[in-house]
Structures are given as C-alpha cells and as structure tokens.
Symmetry: C2
Subunit: 398 residues, 2 copies
C-alpha cells in the first residue's frame, strides 16, 4: 500500500553520524566518530544506589508524574545553575527527555514554516535536523575562533528578522571552540536590541579543561527575557537516563510544557528521582573533575598524534573542553572519500560536511577523543595519520 505522509517527512533525515555509527560499530574499527562519553567512567555504583533509593522511596514515585518534572530535581537544577551565575526559579525549568527534546519542544512552540534561525556554520547536526523538520530556514552567520562576528550577525538579524539565534558557545559541537566573553555580550546586546530569542545549548559546559578560561554562560547575563538555556546529564552521569532540562522565560517554558504533555506526558520519573538521590549523595562535581582529567589526557594524546601529520595545511583548534577536535585538512582532501579508505584501514571519524548549514567545507572532519582509551587513540590515530599521508600522496600523484 502507498501511504500518504506529512510534508514534513521530506525534511526528516536520519543523522549522518548515527548512520556512520551503525557501520562502524561492526568489527575491528576504532571509532572517533560518535559523540559518546567513555562508559568506563560511568559512576555505576552511584547510579545503582540512586535508582535503588528512588524505587524504594515509595510507590508514589512510580506513579504518573508532573509534566514539568519532579519538583525536587528542578530545585537542585536551580541550585546547580546558580553556581554558574544563572539564577532562575524551579518554575522556569522544564525537565526534558535529554536536551534533544528541549530543542524539539522549543522548535514546536516557536516556529512556523519559513521562519528563520541563525546559527554558526558549521553547527550541531541534530539541531539542524530538528529545525529542518519544522520547515525552518537555517542561515549561517560568519564566525571566527571567538564566536559569531558582530557585523555579519547584526546585518543578518536586521535583514532576515530571525525568530531565534541558536548557539553552542562553550566547546561547540563540532567546532570545539569557546566564545569569548566579549562576543557573548555582543550577541546578547543584539538580541535585546532587535528582540530576538537566543537558544543557548550547553551540553559540554561542565567538561572544561581550564576553568579560568571559560567565560560564563550567556544565560547568566540575561534577566530571563531573551535566553533559553539547555543542558543535560548525558555527558556527566549516564546518557541512558535521558535527563536534560531547559530554563527560560516562563511564557515559553509554560507552552513547551503543554507541548511536552501532548508529546510524552512527562519524563521518566524513576530516573528523575534517582538523579535527586544521586545529586544528594554522590560527589558529582568530584566525578566531573575525574572526567575532565581523563579527557584532557586523551585530548593531549590525540593532539600529539595529529601533529604527526607532516602538512602545514592541516589545522585545528586545541580544545579547551568538550569532546571533539575539528580538523581542517589540506584543501584537496575530501573527507567523505577519505572515510571509506579509513574504515578499510580500521579507523573512523565524521566528515565535516553534514554539520554545515551552507557552503560545506569538504576538507573538514570531527574527531572524538573521549570514547576511546589512550591505547586505542594511539592505534587509531596511527592508522588515520597513515591514511591521510597516503591519501594526500595519491591525490597529488593524480
């Protein structure tokens, strides 16, 4: 039978990264492709203990819950955000099924087909997927290592009247960059001037290698008028819990809660109650420090091996946190072609093109340094460097 689908399915794409992961997870391939935390670091004992307490805490905790989220958890989230300078009431927080759902619910209540969203170019792939599924037009803003460039940003705001500016200003995915304090302020100033909402996506904010060099979140400079801020426990506790949250102006959060009610009633409340216990009983901040130290070491190992590619055209920003290297390869290399050869040699990465809103740079790639052990990083990078050096040689010979 032929089924009649909605228009919007034309814009539904399977994530290139997840498609690559399906291939890569088979066999002896060392993968730098996924955006996965290292499962060996998961605080399994604390999670076990927290779930046991949540389930044992009374049958009410296993009943249907409030769409907005478990109140005790929202209180703890408010406290944790206050430490980052984001002072908000629990009433302005919505607990979501991962921060992916925060992006989706936001899009659902904000966008009509044809609306404009400004982003960096490249930017987080799965946000692009969501925006496109709502038939939104995404426009890239010129940026450098410090963030969006003010002139192009103001020009595009004034000309295109976007409904939202979507940013990942702290250890961006895929770029790995950190916006400067100045650029954060300028973005907020422009949002105020032109009455545009900023969506600040901050899944990696806690994974910082040098606290002193990380400016505060944009939301901390806003009096809850222009900035929606979302984060997650997927990188710091475990992804399987699917617990994220979003905070922002009450009017928007209230509508998002109504959209969530239609969408899935409420987020898994066993996980929410477990998180309340975990935050009470477990030294999460100490654990985050362990994650930081481990990932910093791995980043250095990968960096050392990347530097082994003898080509001045290969450039990257040294990550100050997060999970990724964003690498510009020599111009003549098409990383999508390179991936095929790399997988044959037993190593994988994500080609950069799917992250672009427009003008994809085919010589870019994203390398994850958090999921593989130091030994695997060494082996994998040796394979990758060999592939790059050979490929380049062949390309030059042709």
């Amino acid at each position: 039978m032929k089924y009649g689908f909605s228009q919007r399915v034309r814009y539904l794409k399977s994530s290139a990264v997840r498609d690559i992961l399906k291939v890569v997870n088979k066999g002896d391939v060392i993968s730098f492709a996924g955006g996965l935390p290292d499962e060996k670091l998961f605080p399994v004992e604390a999670v076990q203990d927290a779930f046991s307490k949540a389930i044992g805490s009374g049958n009410k905790a296993l009943q249907y819950g409030e769409t907005e989220g478990v109140f005790d958890l929202r209180e703890q989230l408010a406290e944790r955000m206050a430490v980052k300078g984001i002072r908000r009431k629990p009433d302005n927080i919505l607990v979501t099924s991962g921060s992916q759902q925060a992006i989706d619910l936001f899009a659902r209540v904000m966008f009509n087909p044809g609306d404009i969203v400004l982003t960096e170019n490249p930017t987080y792939l799965a946000a692009l997927q969501v925006f496109e599924s709502y038939e939104v037009k995404v426009v890239g803003v010129d940026s450098d290592d410090d963030g969006m460039i003010e002139e192009d940003l103001e020009d595009k705001i004034a000309r295109l009247k976007p409904k939202c500016i979507y940013v990942v200003p702290t250890f961006s995915n895929p770029g790995g960059k950190v916006w400067s304090l100045d650029r954060r302020k300028k973005l907020l100033d422009l949002a105020r001037k032109y009455h545009v909402v900023i969506f600040e996506d901050d899944p990696y904010g806690d994974i910082q290698f040098d606290q002193s060099s990380t400016p505060p979140p944009i939301a901390s400079m806003d009096d809850n008028k222009f900035v929606l801020y979302t984060s997650t426990f997927s990188k710091t506790v475990v992804p399987a819990m699917r617990i994220g949250w979003i905070v922002g102006p009450h009017q928007i959060i209230r509508l998002m809660a109504q959209a969530k009610q239609a969408s899935d009633l409420h987020t898994n409340s066993i996980s929410q109650h477990a998180l309340v216990h975990l935050l009470n009983d477990f030294d999460l901040d100490g654990h985050i420090q362990t994650i930081r130290n481990t990932y910093l070491e791995r980043m250095h190992i990968m960096k050392g091996l990347l530097d082994g590619v003898k080509n001045e055209e290969l450039t990257y920003i040294t990550p100050k946190g997060g999970m990724f290297f964003w690498v510009n390869m020599p111009k003549q290399i098409n990383t999508t072609d390179l991936l095929e050869v790399a997988v044959e040699e037993g190593v994988a990465f994500v080609p950069g093109t799917p992250f672009y809103v427009s003008d994809p740079q085919q010589n870019t790639m994203r390398l994850n340094f958090t999921n593989a052990s130091p030994d695997l990083i060494r082996d994998g990078m040796e394979r990758l460097v060999k592939v790059i050096n050979q490929h380049e040689y062949e390309t030059v010979m042709v």
Copy 2:
C-alpha cells in the same frame, strides 16, 4: 518582551483532566478523576530487582542506545503480541516514551494541517490534543455500544477521505466499551476498501475481566498493511518507566523512528533493559491477573453504589475491563457545574465534555474505579450520590 510563537500553539491545550488533577490532589478530596492505576499494586520488588540487574549488566547498557529501542525488548514485545495474534517482527516495532509518544510521532509523520482523522465521539482526550496540535480536523463517527456504526463510517470515509481512523476498541477511554468482533472486521474491511490507515490504541487490553468476551485486536486480523497498534506497560507495570511501543508497516515505523531521533534520540534505555529483565524473571501475566481481580472487585463496588442513585435516566455500560465507568446523568444535569459542588463535598470526577470531538453531552462523566481502595470508593461514591441526588432536586426546584 512579546514572543512570537508558532501557529500551532493556538491548538495546544492543557489537558482538562490534568488541570482537574492539580486541584483535586490537594486536601481531603476522594478522586475518581485520574486515569491512574493503583500504586499499591505496583510490583516494586520486581521493578527494584530488574533495575538493579539492568544497571549492573555492564556499562554499555548505560550508554547512548538505538533510536528503535533495545533489540531484546523488541523481541519480547513481538512474542507477547504474538500471543494476542499480532505476529510482527522486531524490525516493525518502535519503542516509545509511553504510548502517548507513539500517537505524537505517528501524527508527526502523517498529518498536514487540514487533514482529517475519524474517531469515536467521545474519545481519548490526549489523542485529540495531539491531533489538534498538528492542525488536523477530527471528525466523530456515530457509534453504539458495539463500536462505530458501519453506515456512518463508510459515508464519512467516502466523503471526507480521512488519512486515519483512530480507535480505542478495547475498554475505550472514556466510554469503557468493547467493540464486537463484527464491528472490528467491518472497520478493517472499510480501511482496506478505501486505503485508510487504522491507529489502534490499546493501553487497557490486558485489564480484562472476562477473557472470553474480549475479541482479538484489530491488528491481529491485518497483515501489517493497514493497522498501527500501540500499547504500554504503564497500566501493568509502572507508569514512571514511560515505556510504550508501536508496531505497524515498516515504511511508517521507519519514518517514525527518524522523527523520534530528532525528538529525543531514544527512549530511556535503563528502563528498557530493566523491562527485559522483568519480563524474563517476573510472572507479569500472574501479576496482571492480580490487577484484574482487584479492579473487578472495585468495579463491582462502584457499580453497586451507582445503582443507589434513584433515577432511571442515569445509565452506564458495565465495564468488561479497563479503568472507567462512563455515566450518562439525567439530561438536566451539567456535570461541569456538578463538579464544583462535588469537590466541595470532597469527591471528584471528570466531566465528559472535553472528550467530545463535537456535540458534547454535558450530562456525562467519567469515573475511575482503579486508583482508590474499596473503602475510599465507598466513601467517595456516598458523597457523589448525595451530591447527585441533591443537585438534581435543586435543579428540578429551580
């Protein structure tokens, strides 16, 4: 600041039931309003054990998972559905965050604004909410105690060319009715004749009081072409896990999985793995039998007290399963007005009007008999019968 929202927020409504629940949960009100299972019946020990095994089963179980759902769980779901005559492969199953999400994702991939969906009138409130949020036009089909009436159904299919027929044929919410085998077959015949998709929502199928009088699901008569079938563990295990599933034609399920990926990446996989262990280690079917016996007893208690209203105009169908009485009060009673008096007297129900697609009958109400203990049912029904008898008297006096 004034925010610019999407058109679709005009169609987002907070559920009348959830709004009532917020009022009712305060103080000494005995509530027959919610659609809640009795939390005292939750198999807490089995859930505790299952989560403990899931979390202890290896760190991979706590990592990001597949959007389609944990494969072992989909296999078990296929086996459980086969017992009901629904023979499907795990590939055709999508695990969802409760069956509410199955309705939402289905709507997302199927409907354009202005599309038509046929339903019973009244029908499940939260499905109406979802359909309306996608700007779908919902049209009610005439029905009697056995299900939709063929003539009106065929007339509306032929004339309105609906994209989908949404039904809750087994212990419907709110009506509590069971469609006859004949009506099920006729619906499927018409779906085949006119190439319309049937969405069979079956959250209550397991809560049956008399197995011999429950016809098989419509999906069991279909060769996976016309029927999407969704169900949940919220009524048989615990709601807080938020685990539902949907099975249907691969082409539709695949697109729904892509929509789910954009929506929340995947369903909480700790809960999914826990459910795998629970289904392996725990006698869920024995537990379901306990639930049935308990709810049957409560249904009889409520029925006995309902019969205490001395008015021939008060009618209801005796439920053969599920969680609700659907009561037609004497014509002159407006149950929305009645609720105010009832809450003052310490008892609550849901007025029937929000469940209607059109022509709301203001003298209807839904009573839940599963959440309160026998003693509370007795106390609450005494209060309610008193309120009804007084109200009727007053109405007649005016």
